[in-house]
Symmetry: C2
Subunit: 294 residues, 2 copies
Amino acid sequence: MPDTGPGAGAGGPPTPLGIVAGGGALPRLVAEARAGAGLPYMLVFMGEEAPGWAAGHPHEVHAFEYPQRVVAALKRAGCTHVVMAGGVNRPKIRWSRFRPSTVAFAVKALPLLRRGDDGLLGGIARLFEAQGFSVIGVQDVLGDILAPEGVIGRCEPGAQDLADMRRAAAIVRALGPLDVGQGAVVAEGVCLAVEAVEGTDLMLRRVAEMPAARRPRTPSGVLVKMPKPGQDLRVDLPTIGPDTVSGAAAAGLRGIAVAAGRANVIGLDETRETADAAGLFILGAREDELCAST
Amino acid sequence: MPDTGPGAGAGGPPTPLGIVAGGGALPRLVAEARAGAGLPYMLVFMGEEAPGWAAGHPHEVHAFEYPQRVVAALKRAGCTHVVMAGGVNRPKIRWSRFRPSTVAFAVKALPLLRRGDDGLLGGIARLFEAQGFSVIGVQDVLGDILAPEGVIGRCEPGAQDLADMRRAAAIVRALGPLDVGQGAVVAEGVCLAVEAVEGTDLMLRRVAEMPAARRPRTPSGVLVKMPKPGQDLRVDLPTIGPDTVSGAAAAGLRGIAVAAGRANVIGLDETRETADAAGLFILGAREDELCAST
C-alpha cells in the first residue's frame, strides 16, 4: 500500500502537500489532483517565476540560491510531506545571492549540481528529508499514472522490435551506475541514440533528422525508457506522453517500451490514441522482458 | 614491429595494397601515402560512385550488394593485403541485385548490418580474411597518425577536466560490450552527450545547440574518444582532426582527450594549431589515466 500523501484516507486533518515544482506537465497534474480531491497543498517553484497556470493555486517562488526559503515556505504552510514533480533545469548559480547564514545549506546542495539528473534530484530529496519532511513520489499522489503492464493500444511489437527493446534496455542498464540517462533508441540492432542530459524530445528529434544512410530503413526501431538500476523511484521517473509518441513517429520508429509500474504515462487515453493513429506500439514491459538476454 | 603493408621494407616485389574506402579523409591519405612512397595500391569504393579526388588514383566502384566483385577486383589487382579506411555508411540494400550465385556470400554479410559500426566493420574484415587477404590497420600504413602520449599544443587540462575525462571514459567503457559508440562528453560531472551511430560531429553540434539551462557554464567539459574494449584496432579507430577541435570549441568545451596510441589524429600540426587558436587542450591519455577511478 503506497503512502498516498497526507490526508488521503489517513485519520486526522490532512496537512498540505508540498509540491516542489519542476518543468513539464506533472506539477500541474499533481496540484489539480489535490485540488480536485479537496485536499490542501502548496506549490513551490524553484526558479525566477511561476508559470501562468499557477495563478489559481497556492504557490510561492524561490530562487535556487535560497533553498532555506523553500524549506521555510513549506514549514510555514504546515507541510509534512513533499513531492518533487517534474524535471529540473540545471540552474545557473548567482553566487552573489548567497549569505553567510546560508552557506552551511549551500555547501550540501551545490555539489549535487555536479551529478546527473538522478544524483541531483535524489540529493535534493535527501535534503528535504534531513529537514524533517517525508518525500513521496508523484505516483503516490496520481495513482493511475504508472505505465500498466502489456500492450497499450492496438499495435503490437514484433520479434525484431522485442530484440531492439532488449538491446536498448541493456544500454540504459549499463549506463545506470554512471547516472547518464533513462532512454535509448535501437533499430534493427543498431543503437541510433543514447539519452544524456538533453532529454527524450531532443533525442528523438535528432533521430528524425539523422541522414538516411546512417540508419536502417524506416519504420524501424524502439525507444526504451526505464529507470536506472538503483534509482530513487520517488523522483524523476521516466515519463512518456502524447508528445513522446509524436516524436517517436517523426523519428521513424515502430514503437515505445517503458518499464511497467516504473514509468509515468501522462494522459494514458490520449497517449494510446496518438499511438494508434500513428501506427506505433507502446509496451509496458516487465522487468524480465526488458532483461532477457539479447 | 607492425605489419606495414606489402612492400614497405619487406623483401621481394611489393604487391598492391587493397584500400577498401569508406568516408572521410582517411582513404585519400592512405592512397596518397602509397603513391608518395612509389608503392602500388588499388582503391575500391563500396557504393554507387567514387569521390572526385579518386580520379588520379587506380580505383574501382562496386555496390555493397556485390561483395564478390570487391573480392574479385582485389584479387585481379594482385592484392594480398587490405586496409579498411574510413567509416562506412550503412547501405540501403536493394535485394533485386542479388543473384543466386552470390547468396552464400550475402548470407554471411547481411547479418552484419544488424550490428553497431564495430560489429559491421570487424565482420567485413573477417570476411576479407576468409578470402585469403591479410587485413591491416590504417596506422600500419600511416605510421604517424596515432595520437601521441601527453598534451598536444599549448593548453593543459585542469583537475576538473581530468575528472570529466575519467567519467566520460567510464561511460564509453561501460557501453563497449554493447557496440554503441566511441565517444562521450562530460562537463563538470554531467554527461552532456553519448555518441551512438550519429557520429562525433553531430554529437558536438547538439551540445553546441543545447539550451544553456541544461548544462553547466561554458566553457566546461571534455570530449573523450577511445576504442571500445576488445575492439578490432585494425578497423574504425576513433579519429579526430581540426574539424573535431572546431566542433568542440563551438560546443563550449574545454578540451579533447583521446586514447594515446589507440586513436587517429588526422593532420596533427593543423589539429594542434586549431586547438591553440581556440584555447582548447588536447590530451593523448594513457590507459591508466583514462581508467583511474572517478
